[in-house]
Symmetry: D2
Subunit: 341 residues, 4 copies
């Protein structure tokens, strides 16, 4: 068979390992051929493809980013759609597609599968908010980077007796905040799933200070203050319709300082969390997912995505990932809060 | 309740996070008190204990090693045994014990539980060879360190056109070799579970060279050459009964060179793999296991150990870990071999 | 002799190594005693001191921050001054002071020396803007952190075909931007010493793109656009007199995007650059400076600071550091610009 | 002009940055053309060359190794020599050569220059044993890797109350041992420049233990025990003329254990020290040296090598590097010994 691969949506450490895993598994073992579509669905709807032989993927498992490029283009954008996709696949002699991407990518893939296009998926989100798999690749790297950064921030907090606020990724879910906060020993973990008042945050910060610590607060970018406490806590847009400069971390730091009297500084970790060399964990996971996706093509498992369950890779229908956002469950948050509350 | 903790056996990154997790969970939430027994079972049989209040465990989740010390002393050594243990616990007013350790530790704990001593366990092995849990803490850190080292060795191999052999930990199982080998893109992964001939290894190495690569071989310390190929491949002892200087890596490197004509160098990663700052993954896992162990004491789950299953912490009887060594299954090895074979 | 040590001003990786170096050198070799004043000059004017025996400094060379704490308090603040300092030193039996700090600290120390207080200095600034020494400790760590971050940002830029802007520390000088920019292979390096127009920046960015690269721009926080190009480029204050949220990186990113048509994202590295485990280079440099400072006390070199010249530690008068800011010289900037211009 | 570059001798982090620095400086600014000779002098005497345009060197500053390959071939080997070199240069239209290498490379280059071949040099040795420059690139990376490894070994030593011995690179000089030992806080630093008895080492180890520390010993691979103490301390060869398996670290560990009664383990860091991503310091230094070498060609500075003096790059005659090995001076060793002695 001739298999097309595309990587779509935001960057995530491990994309190249997925590509390499699929190509090595499929070409060496099963004799498939591979092509890569450039920049996600854009390459597929425009017929922009590159060969993906064994030599193209050598040594890339440790490289961040994706050799195929990525974009947020939809296969259903103006002038595209299933007929265009079908025509491009035919023109390139491609029998099936492995789509690596997040919620939007998998939702588009599901529609295309419903139209008869043979696609299997590999879930991708550094936020870890996709259901249907224990964990997604890229998440472990993001948590490690955030943890390393907090390890550094903590020493400066200690030197100055300051409270440090670290804003990490996570628009809708708090997984990165939760895990990096546990790992770094944060004194408050603020996640989108749990609205919290400034009073509660100040109580945690003050309690840490009273135990002799320089308070460390980790906040997911999508965290919202309790509405009663802050009617204006929604993320604002500036006059040009762009997100307001300064995220939630920079906005709550002065409020924590005001409420506690403790000098408080914020750091926004930003894009650094989604690039660069993947952790060994993510390289292994991504490689295995890529291998599994190639096998799934061989078994014609259209409309399903590779998934980690315990220690094994299996597959689940796209719907398993798309039905619900995987949020931090209450017991996990409370378990973490027991460390600082 | 008053709970004693001990850490026993070889060092593993995450031991301190287990201790901190148990103490914070148990003391802050449930009002337990904690004491630490120094150097594993030695401290318990000799009554060598230290207080473990919240202040003792602050900030230690990121520190490698164990603040309690460790040793390989058995509670059944000459002059010890269940009566001694019972007496020490009574003397220190300790109601139950959390024992953090590997196969030997858990086997001893099982005997003590059978004698009526209230013990719960936390599994520990960087080799990941304990059954009954998806993964053990310390393993992720060891894999990361081995992967980083191989990333470095690879560039030198490339510069000189050499074959590099990296010997990693794993006396009885090849998990570290398998995962670090996948992550680093090794061209041969040699594990204790799979005897291999020099001819096969040379074929992999030559094949990598023919594809233009500097061959990278990862070998677990417990790997054995196929017996037909090497009747003397057992690990030897020197005249003083010590393990022979030079491990399997250094012993197979000249044989690979002889068989392939490619200059070959070995590096033994050694003790570096089991010390130092744990990865974020291991800090989170170890913290959660420590918390769970404290909860298990509250529920009087004697004779059980905390265990990771998928994304949740549960508990299993000691027997689940002790009945069989968790070896690399055939399908996992073959899956990895598809990347280089 | 009995020697007091204080660390003053912003946090810098290596402060603890200075303390350890001074204490070990002075106590073990020369039989001095040491005390630490807490939080910089505050501890000295308030008589807040802690013992600094060998046991207090063990193992701290690798720890970021300062075990003595730091602050920006001046010894000439209301109610302080040379008489107060003299009295505190007498009360604690302290014969001389080692002051570790930046420009403000050394300037205050110079005034106190002029009043007859026996002080030697150790220069500290992660910005590397102090003259009189080849380099200051903390700078190497800051450059490494910034470089690592840019290595990560680059892969995301590549995946999305974006221009990434990294804002690094450096209010008055561009040393961190210069060195991290060279190390990371930036396509534009923007420093306070060299006003640049948006047109020039856009030309560099466009040129990189035309060579097939995802443009990477590093900008020091104190960089100013060419005035003709931007009459409002001074750092603004918000209504509360705080620095405006959003630094120069976030402010020029949309202008680069507008001028080039290339999607552009900014990341502000912030406080992460000044905390955490120091590089080996900084640990060695800081240790040697601390040792030298102890020796300088033995030789009564009041009013002088330890200084690195080539491979040797020497001492220079405070004035050598204070007379002029050490800016990036033209030939160094032009040399770096040759890499991207 | 058309300039040839070659990299010769052992691998060192920063080789690619030298190549990139030379090519970017020479081609973009001065309009030179570049070719690379493969595998050091081998490529030059065999006429094995590759083009080195801007596109070949992009993004390589952060990559370990050398894109040109390296070898230990001499230009004076059988069948080579100045006439062959001259003929190859003429055949490839190469006007001058930049030779990047250590003592052997520079000595060969000096002979060729004496024969009229236009060559400039860039000094390379991770051991830092070349005179004529403050420091060589690759050394900082090697020290950082060794320090990181010792940070890890230390925690395991602490957990088990063991003495850990780390063997680092340095056949003839102890610079890596000295700097990594200072940075990691070693309790004994053993260098080739200073023969030491087992009794002295045991005294240091015992003293550290008595202060409550797990002793950490760093030993350069070329260290020799005091002869009176060990008549057999020369590095032995096995029956095949290979270096004996097991270096000095593994050989002194049991002797330390015997002399102190403290369980002692050795780790040999090996090739990991000379590969992989260079530190930011080495990338900057190597880039500047490469740029300077290109400029030196423009000024026809044959027989000279680029050199770091303080903060500036200058050039010195090859003889400055070749007249004497740069050993650790007594005052530097004694200064370090003051930290543990």
């Amino acid at each position: 068979m001739r298999i097309g691969i595309l990587t779509s949506g935001g960057d995530a450490p491990g994309l190249n390992a997925v590509i390499r895993g699929a190509v090595l598994r499929g070409s060496v073992v099963d004799g498939h051929e591979f092509v890569g579509f450039r920049d996600g669905w854009r390459g597929l709807v425009e017929g922009d493809a590159m060969p993906l032989a064994r030599t193209q993927v050598r040594g890339i498992a440790r490289d961040g980013g994706t050799i195929l490029g990525s974009s947020r283009v939809s296969p259903y954008r103006e002038g595209a759609g299933p007929e265009v996709v079908r025509a491009v696949l035919a023109a390139h002699g491609v029998d099936a597609v492995i789509a690596v991407g997040g919620e939007g990518t998998l939702a588009a893939a599901r529609r295309l599968v419903d139209e008869g296009i043979p696609i299997v998926g590999v879930p991708k989100t550094i936020d870890n908010d996709l259901d249907g798999t224990d964990v997604t690749f890229g998440f472990d790297t993001a948590v490690q980077i955030a943890t390393d950064a907090m390890d550094r921030l903590r020493t400066t907090g200690d030197s100055h007796g300051r409270c440090m606020v670290a804003e990490v990724m996570g628009r809708h879910v708090g997984w990165i905040a939760l895990h990096s906060g546990i790992a770094a020993g944060a004194h408050a973990i603020l996640v989108p799933e749990r609205r919290t008042t400034i009073e509660q945050i100040a109580a945690w910060v003050t309690s840490a200070r009273e135990r002799g610590r320089a308070p460390l607060v980790v906040v997911a970018e999508g965290f919202l203050l309790d509405q009663a406490d802050d009617p204006h806590s929604e993320r604002g847009l500036d006059a040009f319709g762009r997100p307001r400069l300064g995220g939630i971390g920079e906005r709550i730091a002065p409020r924590i300082e005001a409420a506690t009297g403790i000098e408080t500084r914020a750091a926004t970790l930003g894009h650094v969390q989604r690039g660069g060399v993947p952790t060994a964990f993510d390289r292994v996971l991504a490689t295995r997912l890529g291998q599994a996706a190639s096998d799934m093509v061989g078994r014609a498992e259209w409309g399903r995505m590779a998934s980690l369950r315990g220690t094994e890779i299996t597959s689940v229908p796209f719907a398993a990932a798309l039905d619900a956002l995987k949020t931090v469950p209450e017991h996990r948050y409370d378990e973490a809060a027991a460390l600082f509350g």
